[in-house]
Symmetry: C2
């Protein structure tokens, strides 16, 4: 069992800030559980394009509001507490934030923590052996 | 892309109530993404024993408060918004709830939605082919 508080991650290597957003990673590839698990804050008034060509992502908004655009289809969806979006087709998407959004995110394959979004907003896949704990 | 609101699941087959808790399942094995993703409410004043002998679970408390007991080690941990606990060793555990707890839960292998906790609080593994969408 591992117990971690969000603020335990502040200003550590598990705390990644990138202009429009901040992501704190509770569970990464090295934990060896088959997914990674992050808390992400998307700042008010921002608009960000994302595309995970190599990962499935599930996002659960638990605070804040905004709009999700599926750039592959043109569909728009409101984001509010209780909204989940599952990117099961590597969907290109844009998030526009009204009130600061706080969300829980799951990635499969798990993120190692060393990826950066490239110019297309794509995370590369980095293979890492799970630590044997 | 799938977009689901928590209340879309109310009183559907994805809404499972079990005395001390209620679990609404956004993502299940049939979604074929390698994990399941649930919102779980644990009711105030309750105490529940859990043991997932066959699954890894990650729990993120985003509202409420209580105490987590690791029954394998006797350790206790406070639960509050921002607490994650990762059951990476099939840890036997007990959750005591002060204020109603709301949490996001990830299971690997993914839950099919047909499991019930048996007398040991154990979910069996049920194999299901992923739907090809």
């Amino acid at each position: 069992m591992k117990v971690i508080n969000l603020h335990d991650l502040d200003d550590t290597e598990h705390d990644v800030e990138h202009g429009n957003w901040r992501s704190r990673r509770f569970v990464l590839a090295k934990d060896g559980v088959g997914f990674s698990f992050h808390d992400t804050v998307l700042y008010a008034g921002t608009e960000s394009d994302f595309w995970y060509a190599h990962h499935v992502e599930c996002v659960y908004v638990y605070a804040g509001s905004g709009t999700l655009l599926n750039r592959d289809t043109g569909e728009e969806f409101p984001l509010a507490p209780g909204t989940v979006y599952l990117l099961d087709k590597h969907d290109k998407h844009t998030v526009r934030v009204e009130e600061e959004i706080h969300c829980a995110c799951v990635f499969n394959p798990p993120v190692t923590g060393r990826e950066v979004h490239d110019e297309h907003g794509v995370y590369p896949v980095i293979h890492e052996e799970a630590a044997t704990a």
